[in-house]
Symmetry: C2
Subunit: 301 residues, 2 copies
C-alpha cells in the first residue's frame, strides 16, 4: 500500500490545491473541537475561498440542521454561505426527496431530534414521531395501546437524546408489520467524542431496531456510506476526481473519500495520530496528511 | 439427526416420566399465554408433583422477581412453592453472589426494572441506577455532568421499559472507563411476544451498549446461555441426566436443554409448530414433543 504524502512546504500545498476544485470538510476535529476553533482555521478557509475553491462542510452529526450548523459557524465567527453545509440530517431529507422520491402522501416516523425534523420540513417531507413521542411513562404502558399511523412508509433513526421505549416499539412495529417500510439511519457512528470522553452515538441508538428486526437498514446517510456521497454528487454535480475529502477520522471521513474515489486529506487535530497511518498494519491510508487544516494558511505563504 | 419422539399414549408418558426426577419448565407459552392458563395445566403439574418430581419454573423475563412471579402464579390459581421459581433476574443475582462472588463493597449499575432490583436486594447485593435514573430530561443534559459512582464494579442490563439516554451513557461510561467492570445481561432475547405481536426485548435494550463498546457481555443469564444452567445446577445440586427442560421455543428452551445435556420436551402451545421440528432442515430438535403440557394430565390416565 502506498504511503501518504505529508504536506510540509509551500510547493507541496500548491501542488495539492491545484488538483482539486471542491473540498468536502468534516467539522468536529477539523474546523473545531466542540466549541473551540482550530488555530488559523478561519484564515485557511479564507485562502481556499480566494483561490476559487468550492467548500462543503460535511458532518455525520444529525442533531443539527443546516440552520443549526449555520448558527454554530456564526457564533464561532467562521465565514459560512448558504449551500455550504451538508449534515447527515439534511442528507437523509435529500435522499428521501431526490433519490428514493418518497411519496408525498406518506410520512416518515422519526427517532431523533430537531435537526432531523427541521430538515424534513425544509424538504416538504411529512413526518410523525420525534417530539410527539418524547413524553412516555412506562408505568402507564400496555403493549396493546400502540397506535399505528397508516401513512407511515419509512422509519428514520438518528441520534436521540430523548430515546425511549415507546419510540423503539413504534419504529419496530412499523418495520416489522410492513416489509415495504423503508429503514434509514442518519449515520452509524457507534460513539462520538464529548467532554474528553466518548458516548453512545447514532449507530448505538439504532442498534435495538437492527437487533429486534434482525435486519440492516436500507441506507445509512452518514460517512463512510455511499448514499451520502450519492446525495452530494447529485446536488453539486460534482466531479469526484477534482474533489478532496478533508477529515480527522480514518473509518468515516477518509474511508468515505476512498470509497467515492475522491482525494483524501487527513488532519491530525482530531482522533487520529500520525502513527496510525504510518504503521505497518494501517488499513485506511489517506492520499495526504497535515498536522492541522490551519497549516494551509501559515505554510502556504 | 434423530427424529423427535411424539408422546401420544399412556405408556409413552410413563416411559418419559420415569427417565427424569426434575423438570425445568418455561412459563410463557407453556403454562400460560400472557394471562390465560393452558388447559389442564394445573392438573398436569399436580400429577408431576404426585409422582414426586421436582419442578422449577425457568423464565427469561427479567421484569419479575421470584416474588413477582409468585403473585402471578397465585393470581392464576396455579400451585407454587418457595424455591420453585428461577427467573433471569434471580439468576443474575445468584450468579453475582455465588458464581463470581461479587465483592460486598462494590455496587451493580442496573439498567432494568424492579424485577432485577428486588432480586439483588434479596441476595444482599448493592446497586445503583434503575429507578434513580428513570427521570431524565435531554434538554438539561450536558455530557460533562455524568457523575460516576466509584463503587460500581458491574453493569447488569435487562429489559427496561423506562430506558433512556442517561442510563446508556452511565452504563457505557462505567464499562468504557474501567475494563475490569463486569458486563452482564439478564437475557438476550431480541424480541418477546405480547398482544398478538412481538416487541423489542432485553437483547435489543442491551444492543446500544454492545455496539458502542464493541464488546460482548461477560455473561448472559437467560436461556439458552450456559451461565443460567450453571446457577441452577449449583443451587439444586442437579443431575443433568435426570433433568428435562420443557419449553415452547427451540432457540432458547430446547437449545438450553441440549447445551446442558438435559432431556428436552417441546410443547406446541407457544411459538413453535410441529412442522418446524419435522422439516428436513430443522437444526434444533427436542428429544420429545407433545401438543400441550396439559396432555400429561389427560392422556396419562
Amino acid at each position: 500500500m502506498s504511503k501518504p504524502v505529508k504536506l510540509s512546504n509551500a510547493s507541496d500545498y500548491e501542488a495539492f490545491l491545484d488538483k482539486y476544485d471542491t473540498f468536502l470538510i468534516d467539522c468536529d476535529g477539523v474546523i473545531w473541537l466542540e466549541n473551540i476553533v482550530i488555530p488559523n482555521l478561519r484564515e485557511a478557509l479564507s485562502l481556499l475561498r480566494k483561490k476559487g475553491k468550492n467548500l462543503l462542510f460535511v458532518s455525520n452529526n444529525s442533531a443539527k440542521s443546516r440552520k443549526g450548523y449555520k448558527k454554530k459557524f456564526e457564533k464561532l465567527n467562521i465565514e459560512i454561505y448558504d449551500g455550504e453545509i451538508f449534515g447527515s440530517a439534511y442528507a437523509s431529507a435529500y435522499y428521501l426527496k431526490n433519490i428514493v422520491k418518497f411519496p408525498s402522501d406518506k410520512k416518515v416516523y422519526v427517532v431523533g431530534d430537531v435537526g432531523i425534523t427541521e430538515e424534513l420540513e425544509s424538504e416538504g417531507i411529512r413526518f410523525a414521531g420525534a417530539a410527539e413521542d418524547v413524553k412516555f411513562d412506562g408505568t402507564d404502558w400496555t403493549f396493546a395501546n400502540i397506535k399505528q399511523d397508516p401513512e407511515v412508509g419509512a422509519v428514520l433513526c438518528g441520534f436521540d437524546i430523548n430515546i425511549n421505549y415507546l419510540k423503539y416499539a413504534k419504529a419496530y412495529t412499523y418495520l416489522h408489520s410492513n416489509p415495504g417500510c423503508l429503514f434509514l439511519l442518519t449515520n452509524d457512528d457507534s460513539t462520538f467524542p464529548a467532554s474528553g470522553s466518548t458516548f453512545p452515538g447514532g449507530g448505538a441508538i439504532a442498534a435495538p431496531l437492527i437487533t429486534a428486526l434482525d435486519r440492516n437498514p436500507d441506507a445509512v446517510l452518514g460517512k463512510p456510506n455511499k448514499p451520502m456521497l450519492d446525495c452530494i454528487v447529485q446536488k453539486l454535480s460534482l466531479n469526484p476526481e477534482r474533489t478532496c475529502m478533508i477529515g480527522d477520522r480514518l473509518s468515516t471521513d477518509i474511508l468515505f473519500g476512498i470509497n467515492g474515489n475522491l482525494g483524501t486529506l487527513l488532519v491530525l487535530t482530531g482522533v487520529t495520530e500520525e502513527k496510525d497511518i504510518l504503521a505497518e498494519n494501517a488499513r485506511i491510508i489517506p492520499d495526504y496528511y497535515i498536522s492541522s487544516l490551519g497549516d494551509i494558511a501559515t505554510l502556504n505563504t
